[in-house]
Amino acid sequence: MIADIRKLAVWVEETHAEMGQAVSPPTRKAVAVAVIANPFAGRFEPDLTLLMNIGEDLGALLGQRCVQALGIAPAQAESYGKAAMVGEAGELEHAAAILHPKLGGPLRLAVEKGAALVASSKKIGGPGQVLDVPLGHKDAAFVRSHFDAIEVRLNDAPRAAEIMVAVAVTDSGRPLPRVGGLTKDQVQGRDGLR
């Protein structure tokens, strides 16, 4: 691991009921977060290769942590997402360097397959600030029941010279989906869309 990791955190949310309707089996979402030192804090660095490589490491680590926390086989993962919040001494492009070039490959290995784009979000923020991690079906972006998000927050991160990197994985969609659209049973999973 090339990143200087200060903290790792993993949350799991299970929803057993919603509006009095039982959700059986419960829907489950996991999100894993790494708080790392930002190697480029406080200065402009044209070459962001180091952050791209850090992203590759974190895609594997955080993807595996989520799957482990859900207690599922990788193939049972249904949706995923990623996000980063850069402390105030960094820039938004640092989040982009971690998230976009290399993080997806090892994350897809951790959840087996993953034909679809990994939904993402990014922002600059400080300790205690909320990061909403978007979620989409891992093999077909149009699966409407799996459009979702999960909120993460750590009271002590990101400090100014840190970056908080989050990966979310679920084994299910929303608790009571009923707005139609493509269903997971109809997924072909070849083009990443349907």
Partner: protein, 194 residues
């Protein structure tokens, strides 16, 4: 006696490797489990509420066991604990106090005859409310290195008619503890204080 109506279970595990100082050989770990349940007394003043403490005992035990599992499953590794409750706005603070006995004794039972009082906090709050759950040493409340807290909360809970009940366990001292006081190695562990 009313059944416990669980809407959500949320778990969180934080591992801290360092906080700007030397990297810990074994990361400090904290875990929290939150059950979001229906408040059977929401919206009215109910004089006799004590029976609900008994109803909560199985939930407390289940939560304490799951929390221990999240931290590796060995009771000998657990050194700190705490508990808390957030009462949705249609309830009263006293409803949160119902968690003291079932929450605390569940952890003591699972950890095996711990001596110190389980520190606690509670409040009335809305969805997204955060609770700083205090943590102290399981056998001696005065152990200074183990004074800590863990922030918990969930964006969609507690709704007005819900209770969010929380248990927290930790594996040791703050990652860079160095302010003196009673050390964990010096406790007698008889009175729960020193």
């Amino acid at each position: 006696m009313p059944d416990i109506d669980i809407r959500k279970i949320i778990t969180a595990v934080e591992e801290t490797f360092h906080e700007g100082g030397p990297r810990a050989d074994i990361p400090h770990r904290k875990a929290a489990i939150t059950a979001v349940i229906a408040n059977p007394f929401a919206g009215r003043y109910e004089a006799d509420i004590k029976g609900f403490m008994e109803d909560l005992r199985p939930l407390g035990l289940r939560m304490a066991r799951q929390l221990l599992t999240l931290l590796g499953g060995d009771p000998a590794r657990i050194e700190g604990y705490g508990k808390g409750a957030i009462v949705g706005a249609a309830g009263e603070l006293e409803h949160g106090a119902l968690w003291h006995v079932p929450g605390g004794y569940a952890m003591r039972e699972v950890l095996g005859d711990t001596r110190a009082i389980v520190p606690s906090t509670k409040k009335v709050g809305g969805v997204g409310a955060r609770l700083d759950v205090p943590v102290t040493h399981i056998n001696a409340s005065y152990v200074r290195s183990h004074f800590d807290a863990m922030e918990v909360g969930c964006n969609d809970a507690p709704k007005a008619s819900e209770l969010a009940l929380v248990l927290v366990m930790t594996t040791g001292a703050r990652v860079h503890a160095r302010v003196g006081g009673l050390a964990a190695g010096d406790i007698t562990g008889e009175d729960g204080l020193r």
